[in-house]
C-alpha cells in the first residue's frame, strides 16, 4: 500500500531500475522531450507533456528508472535557482544510511 519514492542521485540509479524515484538536480540541457539533469552526475530524462523546466534551474523529478538508467519523468517541479545541490545530495546519502526513516524496501 505504501509507496515510497526514494531520493537518489546518479550513482544510485542502477539499484532502482524499474522503480519510481525522486531526483533533485540541476537542469543542464533540454532538447524537445529529452532533458539532462545533473544530480551528482548527469541523468538523461524523458519528459512528459506537462513538464516545464528551465535550463540552469533546480528541478525535482519523480520518475521511473529505465534499464538504460535514463528516467521516464512522471512529474516534475521547478525549484528555481536557490537550490543547494550539495545539501540535496547529502540528503540522498543520509536517506540511504537511515532507510528506516525514508523508504520501504
Amino acid at each position: 500500500m505504501e509507496t515510497s519514492t526514494p531520493r537518489v542521485t546518479c550513482a544510485y540509479l542502477n539499484s532502482y531500475v524499474g522503480k519510481n524515484v525522486m531526483i533533485v538536480g540541476k537542469v543542464v540541457q533540454i532538447r524537445g522531450e529529452d532533458a539532462i539533469i545533473d544530480a551528482d552526475g548527469n541523468i538523461p530524462c524523458k519528459l512528459n507533456r506537462d513538464a516545464h523546466l528551465s535550463p540552469g534551474n533546480g528541478v525535482q523529478v519523480i520518475g521511473k528508472v529505465n534499464p538504460d538508467l535514463s528516467v521516464k519523468v512522471l512529474s516534475s517541479l521547478d525549484l528555481g535557482t536557490g537550490v543547494d545541490y550539495n545539501l540535496a545530495n547529502t540528503v540522498v546519502e543520509v536517506s540511504h544510511q537511515h532507510k528506516s526513516l525514508f523508504a520501504y524496501d
Partner: protein
C-alpha cells in the same frame, strides 16, 4: 582498563536501551520513560511521513510513539497530492516521498472564512505542516495548527536532515562527542583506520557523559564519576534512606576512591547529602 571499559558499557547500555548491562538496569530506564511522557506536550518533533505511518503498529489509540517516544506535536514537510475542502475543514493528502501519503486536516476558521475564505494550497506545492498527531479508527492523521507554503526548497532538505538528527539523538543519545559508530559519517566523515579504536573509546566516553547530562541537568557540570554515581543512586530505590558505599562498590564496580571523590563532588554541589554516616548518601530532592 578492564573495569573502566565495563563502566563505559553500562553507561551506554542504559542510555541506548539495549539489554541493560551492569548496574543501570530497568528501574533507571523506567523512571526516564515516565519523565519523557510527562513532557510530550512540550516538544515539537520533526518527522518524516514514513515515521508516522510506521508508528501505527502496536500502540493504543491515545498514544502514538515514534522510536519508542510518545509523540503528539510534530512538524513535517510534504507535497500536496490532493485537496478535499469541506465545510469545517480542508483535508490535504501530503507526500514527502518516504512512503505514501498522510491526511492533514486544517480546520477552517468560520469567522475568518466569511470575510475571505482560506484559499487551499494548490497541488504539488511543498508545504510545511505543524500539528498534532491524532489516531482515529486506527488511522493516524495530523490535525494541523499551521500549514504554509515552502518557498525555498532547501527547507525540505533541512527538514529531512533534522528529522534524521532527532531520530539519531533519541535512538543513540546526544552527540556529546563523535558518534561511536561508523555511521558517524553523518557527523562529518569517517575516522582514520589506525586510531579508530581510540576514537571509539573517546567517543563512547563523551557519549555516555553527554547522555547522562541529558538525563538530568543537575549534574551537567559534574565529572564523569559524579554523574555515574548520581545515575546509580537515582536508579536505586534504597537511595531514599541512603546508599552505603559498600552497596555502590558492589553494584557499580567503581573503586572506593572514585566513589568518595564523586560523592564529595555531589556533596559540594548540594546534590546529595549524608545520612546515617559519612559514607552513606541520599539524593537531595528539589
Amino acid at each position: 582498563m578492564a573495569s573502566y571499559g565495563g563502566y563505559q558499557r553500562t553507561g551506554y547500555g542504559a542510555q541506548g536501551g539495549d539489554e541493560g548491562g551492569g548496574f543501570m538496569s530497568g528501574s533507571q530506564q523506567g523512571s526516564q520513560g515516565q519523565s519523557k511522557r510527562s513532557t510530550i506536550d512540550e516538544y515539537l518533533r520533526p518527522v518524516t511521513i514514513k515515521q508516522i505511518l510506521d508508528a501505527k503498529a502496536g500502540y493504543s489509540e491515545s498514544e502514538i510513539a515514534v522510536d519508542g517516544f510518545a509523540v503528539s506535536t510534530v512538524t513535517l514537510v510534504g507535497q500536496v497530492r490532493s485537496v478535499n475542502p469541506q465545510t469545517t475543514n480542508i483535508t490535504y493528502k501530503i507526500d514527502d516521498g518516504t512512503g505514501g501519503t498522510i491526511d492533514v486536516k486544517k480546520w477552517v476558521d468560520l469567522e475568518k472564512s466569511e470575510s475571505g475564505a482560506e484559499t487551499p494550497f494548490s497541488l504539488d506545492t511543498w508545504v510545511r505542516v505543524l500539528g498534532r498527531l491524532t489516531s482515529f479508527n486506527g488511522k493516524i492523521h495530523v490535525g494541523a495548527h499551521h500549514v504554509r507554503v515552502i518557498d525555498d526548497y532547501n527547507e525540505v532538505s533541512y527538514h529531512l536532515l533534522e528529522a534524521t538528527y532527532v531520530h539519531l539523538c533519541i535512538s543513540r543519545g546526544l552527540p556529546g562527542g563523535p558518534w561511536p559508530h561508523k555511521e558517524g559519517a553523518v557527523g562529518g566523515g569517517g575516522h582514520g583506520g589506525g586510531d579508530s579504536d581510540s576514537m571509539f573509546i573517546d567517543g563512547g566516553n563523551g557519549y555516555g557523559t553527554a547522555s547522562g547530562a541529558g538525563g538530568d541537568s543537575r549534574v551537567a557540570s559534574c565529572s564523569r564519576q559524579a554523574k555515574s554515581l548520581y545515575q546509580f543512586m537515582q536508579s536505586d530505590p534504597r537511595s531514599i534512606e541512603g546508599i552505603n558505599i559498600a552497596d555502590v562498590m558492589g553494584a557499580s564496580g567503581m573503586s572506593k576512591r572514585d566513589i568518595l571523590a564523586a560523592a564529595d563532588e555531589l556533596l559540594g554541589n548540594g546534590i546529595v547529602y549524608t545520612t546515617v554516616d559519612d559514607e552513606t548518601w541520599a539524593i537531595l530532592e528539589t
